[in-house]
């Protein structure tokens, strides 16, 4: 057990972490875009501070609105991935699937998307055609329509080829109130498939590392998978798609929002050998590596078996697994039972191992 003095230190840290977030840097650094603590601080201290309202405050994947008696989910996402084309997809797939997934994990049926393009002078039209074809195909798979858009062109050197922003709306017809704050002790935590494929694929696709692996991005629409799970299991408390910051970031959000502890088993978390191998070599942790087609589900513990069966019954969830559970405490802390048999904390990511992953 920890000594009294050590406990005092832990309490002190806890108090320090509850302080109002403040951006200390004078300028934006790459850390602010990495999806970890710096991103969170930026969002809370700058954006939430400026735009604060009850709909924004939950900082969910989508905002949930009441419009003329209908419940509508609204979200937006920007894509700056480098390289634009990578094994398993391109920026176009990502731009559709990213926004579709933000709607799907809010419990909504995704319906309509907008698409805004920022193009650099000199960008090949053939590449743009490939990207838009991928967007069309991804939209068809997800059952959404791109119904409005915008185009801007900037001078050579002022952007990196092509950036895309998409926004989307979906309709919420189910009564389940989803949100990570709903997590309760005894709830099971599931992931829908192997983690980290997208991030490692992008890193290898940059060709800077001279590592080759037979790996493709996991970019996919989660709309069908989320609907399947929600239809099969009434006790789903929350769904999140694990993008920047990876599964570790989602687990921390669950622990913090619910004021509960989270305990996961390293052995139970599905990770492809290629991803593990590359991560070992590069000194990164797959828990923090981005996925673009994986979701984390928090489910009433008594329905964990049903949830697992529902996920595994869907082509995108064949390798789904129960990775851990929600515990009463310690509040806000995610613990990992290591495969080696020890225990460690899984905190929010600080550094920026993989910039511009989506």
């Amino acid at each position: 057990m920890t000594s009294g003095r050590e406990q005092q230190v832990l309490d002190r840290i806890d108090r320090a972490r509850r302080r109002r977030p403040r951006v200390r840097e004078e300028r934006i650094t790459m850390s602010h875009g990495a999806g970890g603590k710096a991103t969170q601080t930026l969002i809370e201290a700058i954006f939430l501070d400026a735009f604060r309202n009850p709909l924004l405050e939950p900082l969910g994947d989508s905002a949930l609105l009441q419009l003329a008696g209908a419940r509508v989910a609204l979200t937006t996402d920007s894509f700056v991935v480098s390289p634009l084309f990578f094994p398993g997809g391109n920026i176009g797939d990502l731009a559709i699937n990213g926004t579709v997934n933000d709607l799907a994990v809010a419990g909504a049926t995704p319906l309509y998307l907008s698409a805004g393009f920022i193009l650099e002078e000199g960008f090949p039209v053939a590449d743009l055609t490939r990207i838009t074809a991928s967007m069309r195909d991804a939209a068809a798979v997800a059952g959404v329509h791109i119904v409005t858009g915008d185009t801007k062109v900037v001078e050579r050197g002022k952007a990196d080829g092509c950036y895309i922003n998409t926004a989307g709306v979906g309709i919420v017809t189910r009564d389940q109130a989803l949100g990570v704050a709903q997590a309760r002790p005894g709830d099971a935590i599931l992931v829908s498939g192997p983690i980290g494929d997208h991030g490692v694929t992008i890193m290898l696709a940059r060709g800077e590392l001279d590592i080759e692996a037979d790996l493709v991005s996991d970019t996919a629409s989660l709309a069908g998978l989320a609907a399947t799970l929600l239809d099969a299991v009434p006790g789903v408390r929350a769904l999140r798609d694990a993008t920047r910051g990876g599964v570790a970031t989602i687990l921390n959000e669950i622990a913090k929002a619910a004021g509960m502890g989270v305990v996961v088993s390293e052995d139970a978390i599905p990770v492809r050998e290629e991803v593990r191998g590359a991560s070992e070599l590069l000194g990164i942790d797959p828990m923090y590596v981005a996925c673009e087609g994986r979701m984390v589900a928090v489910v009433d513990g008594s329905q964990a078996g049903d949830a697992l069966a529902a996920l595994r019954g869907h082509p995108l969830g064949e390798q789904a697994a129960v990775i851990g559970q929600v515990t009463e405490g310690p509040p806000g802390i995610v613990q990992l039972k290591t495969a080696f048999g020890g225990t460690r904390i899984v905190d929010l990511l600080v550094g920026d191992p993989l910039p511009r992953i989506c």
Binding site: M1, L10, I13, G341, G342, T343, D347
Partner: protein, 378 residues
Amino acid sequence: MRFVDEFRDAGKAHALAAKIAALCEPGRQYKLMEVCGGHTHTIYKHGLEDYLPEQVTLVHGPGCPVCVIPMGRVDDAMHLAAQPDVIMTSFGDMMRVPGSTGSFLDANAAGTDIRMVYSPLDSLKIARSNPGKRVVFMAIGFETTAPSTAMTVLRAAAEGLTNFSVFCNHVTIIPAIKAILDSPDLRLDGFIGPGHVSTVIGCRPYEFIASDYGRPVVVAGFEPLDILQSIYMLMLQLSEGRSQVENQYARVVPWDGNVVALKVIGQTMELRPYFEWRGLGFISHSALKMREQFAAFDAELLFGVPGVRVADPKACQCGEVLKGVLKPWECKVFGTACTPETPIGTCMVSPEGACAAYYNYGRMNRQRVPEAAQVSRS
């Protein structure tokens, strides 16, 4: 995964935990220092302390290359990066290390071009493809990374590259260990020897620790079972009253080191008369600089650096942490003013830093495995 999973076998770990516990003499406390930051990282990442009885304490040593870089050298690096047409390259660990006016990330936000590389050789690629730029590699690390810097310089020389240079901050491990052994405020029973450094320098350089200071040394690998086995080997020596240098990491570490690697270091670099270590102060003959024949690749000579010594922030107790006098959480600012996202001291930056490892992975009630808990109660 082969060559990894077999060194993380929980069953074997439990067996070792029982053997370690059995060697504990009642009432005796054991303080073992893992010299290398890589070991610190492994210990926390895998929760290895859960396997140790209360009587065995691991003390984190000075072998984190990022942690020992003094603030003045970080400022010097930023001075170099701010020179016209300079692209600086460095290992990822350095990007968030605070200088007196912020980190490399802040410097980049203000206009410098400091890039992360995985190998110094990547700097040559950048130099070749940017002939109009001057590429400066900020070299850090112990004897582990010095050979790759040396090889890079040799290759640059062979290619006749004129737009590449090295800001050399390589340090050597033995003087740091000696400084710790001579430090009056620390009592250690043995050393978990740095495995990666030893792949280059071998095991012989540690013999004085065993013979002159009477402390056992076991050179250890970096998987959790390697470390646990090394702790067992140290405990066995202590229980038998021996102090010897032993090599647990024989699958990688030759007793006499890597002769070729040592040769290229010697060919390109020489000892500095003295060098400042963060927290440890100036230590004579503890760091390397480029030899005169390679002056054309020495960024310190090519550009000049201010070389201003900057005192560590008052609140920072990195020195005590590096020497193992303080546990990370005993530092006054640990986890409050100094966190991985806003580090004051270097120990909070690198994943090999004791404070960062403890903050990110370790600060939790420990539940010892039954084999280790048993002896704690006795």
